[in-house]
Symmetry: C2
């Protein structure tokens, strides 16, 4: 699997996205990450493995704690990928905007 | 599955991302989309179904052609989601930058 596909697949889960959001506040252990989710440690560990394989997090070397750290690279890749389509969606909102203005103008001229 | 998870799952495939890129140039039929991929029509149709379920494309009503059209909404959602982390990755690049400057300064003062 290519890097970007692995990143998107890892992000296709609300728990994993919540873990990423939590890690912007700083490194955290598996226990700290599991606390707000009402999930078993093995379930959280499984999510962390998916995130780690996608390069979205890295783990410390300390065997007992292995704190998780967010890695910026893949997130930037996603933003860069989506950003390429900005022109497209801004265009399509512009078209909607023009359409709404057109309707409004017609209604105004009907009123007159 | 929540909307954003469905979008990320649909984007976790290079062929589907290539189809999206192609559709920024305008609507296209399944045949037109299949042409550059050296893929069977059923394989392309399967990808289109995933994209359609995720709301990334819509299909025309004409039963024979059903042209595919890119929908901007979910792409904007992805960009907005990733954009929230900009501060994080810019921060982490800043930290790297500061670290490199620090090393350089040390080397400069050692030379002096």
């Amino acid at each position: 699997m290519d890097q970007l596909s692995a990143t998107f697949a890892a992000l296709a889960d609300p728990t994993r996205r919540a873990i990423i959001a939590r890690l912007t506040a700083g490194e955290a252990t598996v226990n700290e990450l599991a606390a707000p989710f009402d999930m078993s440690l093995p379930a959280v560990s499984k999510h962390l493995k998916v995130l780690e394989r996608a390069g979205l997090i890295s783990r410390g070397r300390n065997a007992q704690w292995r704190p998780c750290k967010l890695e910026a690279g893949p997130l930037k890749e996603v933003a860069d990928w989506a950003e390429r389509y900005r022109q497209f969606w801004e265009g399509s909102f512009d078209r909607l905007d023009n359409y709404l203005k057109e309707i409004q103008q017609k209604e105004t001229s009907n009123d007159a």
